[in-house]
């Protein structure tokens, strides 16, 4: 088990590589979802204020 984490002595290179990839890819996914949620609530707020007669 500890030999798995040691990665043949290259742990200092292998694990940061996987860590950076995970951080970036998960981060972009989360940022994208949060951006979508923010746009959705902004749209709701603006459409709620619109005069009702404009409903097509």
């Amino acid at each position: 088990m500890s030999s798995f984490f040691a990665m043949g002595g290259y742990a200092a290179y292998v694990w940061p590589a996987y860590g950076v990839a995970a951080a970036v890819l998960i981060g972009v996914w989360i940022a994208s979802v949060r951006g979508l949620r923010a746009r959705e609530s902004e749209i709701e707020a603006v459409e709620a204020e619109r005069p009702r007669r404009e409903r097509r």
């Binding site: 290259y10 590589a17 990839a21 970036v24 994208s32 746009r39 959705e40 902004e42 603006v46």
Partner: protein
Amino acid sequence: MHRYANPARFQRLSRAVFPWSAGLTVLFLGLGLWFALFDSPPDYQQGETVRIMYIHVPAAWMALFSYTCVAVASAVLLVWKHPLAELAARAMAPVGASFTAVCLITGSLWGEPMWGTWWVWDARLTSVLVLFFLYLGYIALANAFDDPTRGGRAAAILALVGVVNVPIIKFSVDWWNTLHQPASVMRLGGPSIDPSMLRPLLLMALGFTFYFFTVTLIRIRAEILARRLRALQFAQGAAEPSGIRQVSA
């Protein structure tokens, strides 16, 4: 293609496709990581550092693929003025830039123990760094204008000018003497890499591809809403000329 120019139709389609795309992302990344970390051998020369390849190479493939997609969307925008093309290109650029960054960083982490250096200005590394700057330039230019359609068009031109870098990156290891090794997968005569290593490589590549597709769907939906919001705010600003309404960019 123009059927999906209707944003409402696109939203419905993307909502239907999204769970499958997300599920396939998790499936292929899970399988890929299993084989990459557990069920594949160390390299006879590079030892366990070869496992960095299972992140680095798929990220590089995605960096090139994403840029090509941005360029194609840009061409569609400029030639056919397809309304969703600009939004798609804007959505994909940051994801492509992220893959490029992951490729560069994991490449450095692989290069230090194997080559003895974090960086070298050879043709492959330099042209991928240029790709990264092209992505950043695209994003900056697209957001630099008050009118987003002008920004989208300007950025589209940049994307098309920069697309020549994609074959340069691909063939850099053939055209120049590079420290970076030549191709072992996408080459005439087929892959020279062992199947036990090709399997995690292709699984991770599939996982990254579905990831790209899934995140792009999320981002395009956000871009559609942002554009609609801007139009609504503009219309409200025009309808209430006496009001002190700020139109946010």
